[in-house]
Symmetry: C2
Subunit: 275 residues, 2 copies
């Protein structure tokens, strides 16, 4: 099945635009889980069990697994296998933000697909030849960083650039380039909820068929209503509203998974009011 069809299927089946960020930083795991032989995997397993009917996607960020070295890499592998077994309709986004030249990008693509991910996040600074290896297989997808949610995202991304089509902000030019790069329909964009008017502009530019991954609600301060209204398409789909810390670390006690499940359902319902 094409990536875009899988994503639409997941959003419709669970009636949800929620993406849970599995940023399972060892240093932040609940004390109750630390006695486990594989605390990162065990934490994720319980979060997945509690949230899987309320989400369309999981997004493990590789940084928090690489930080834990070999054990972290093993936990990431096991987590993705577990999602595929217990929630096969839910999409796995590997938050890798990779970007490298041709033969190296090819190696990163193999690494990401070998881990079992359905799609990845990518950085556009090196241009199309750094992204192409990820786009060859239309059962796999990619989200290219366009306008990020962090405060200094503006430093490069908001620059005024001169293009053959006239003046533009850099992030809008990236959105335009991405549309020419992603001819197979498997290329989406990342735009932060912290920049709602930029999100609106990007959705207007790319039309309704392109998925937009939207981090930055909750801890980072982005408005949920604006993220949904500006990010979803005319059918209320293809926005992925990511929440990490506000779901997985909502409760530091032994009931963390139950609280994560409640938080995911609350977020789903809050989003659905605005769709």
């Amino acid at each position: 099945m094409k990536f875009i069809e899988r994503l639409l299927g997941a959003q419709k089946k669970n009636d949800s635009l929620v993406c849970v960020g599995l940023d399972s930083d060892l240093a932040k795991l609940p004390r109750s889980i630390l006695g486990s032989a594989e605390p990162q995997f065990e934490f994720n397993r319980r979060i997945i069990d509690a949230t899987k009917n309320a989400v369309c996607a999981y997004k493990p960020n590789m940084a928090f697994y690489e930080e834990a070295g070999l054990k972290g890499w093993a936990a990431l592998e096991k987590t993705i296998i577990y999602i595929k077994e217990s929630a096969p309709d839910v999409v796995v986004i590997l938050d890798a933000k990779r970007g490298d030249i041709g033969n190296t990008a090819q190696a990163y693509a193999k690494a990401c697909w070998a881990l079992g991910a359905d799609c990845v996040t990518l950085n556009p600074y090196l241009g199309i030849d750094s992204l192409e290896p990820f786009l060859k297989d239309d059962t796999k997808g990619a989200f290219v960083l366009c306008r990020t949610s962090n405060p200094s995202g503006r430093e490069l991304q908001d620059l005024d650039v001169t293009t053959p089509g006239g003046p533009s902000k850099l992030y809008m030019h990236v959105a335009r380039l991405a549309m020419s790069w992603g001819k197979g329909g498997n290329l989406g964009l990342v735009v932060g909820a912290t920049v709602p008017s930029e999100l609106k502009d990007v959705r207007a530019l790319v039309g309704g068929a392109v998925p937009i991954l939207i981090p930055g609600v909750g801890a980072q301060g982005g408005s949920l209503e604006a993220a949904v209204r500006n990010g979803a398409n005319e059918s209320g789909l293809l926005a992925l509203i990511n929440s990490s810390r506000d779901i997985i670390f909502k409760d530091p006690g032994p009931d963390f998974a139950k609280k994560a499940g409640e938080s995911a359902r609350e977020l789903k319902e809050a989003i659905n009011k605005f769709r």
Copy 2:
């Protein structure tokens, strides 16, 4: 010792600007090494033994280790430990090209330093808060992508941008920003040998105290003479001329390490003619 002093020490001790890229793609390793229990590490060990007196730096690209999964990660760990033991003056550049938001960048920095690297390559698209966690410790360094060596590097990097200081190419603006970011002297830039006039402009802009990592000679077609003349400072230092495939995969037979050593010495001598 500060990172910049370590790097200068390595260049002076071996009288070399050569950086060997340990892009040890499993699929390209000599057949003679494949029977080893740890072929990636064993290959690197023999390359290091043969080249360590002719180089100032080794640059393993994480893609080729992540591609091999858990075994690849273990091989990368062992390789860096081996460099530290057998060639302690030589600098280890982890070619990671990471770039992520604050708390995630912090996790990547911990991952890179836990692997034992002296410095990393980073992507500037997310701005300073994605780089800061790597710059806190002045015994560690970072090279920020400025103008990359790949054909589509121009797509974003050569755009004309409007800045408070006037019109500029994006890559020159990145170089200017990097100088304001890297106040501790531990921030260098990556500029490809395939764009020699851009390399000249960047060196002129940043002055002689900033290291520039220069990939793209050899297989990618960049001129060695231009890379050295345009990239080195007035003392013939602080350019790092990277070569990967043309050294490590120079010979596919059982004598690969001997040939790699010869190639590294030849490159060192060829560079030194132009310093």
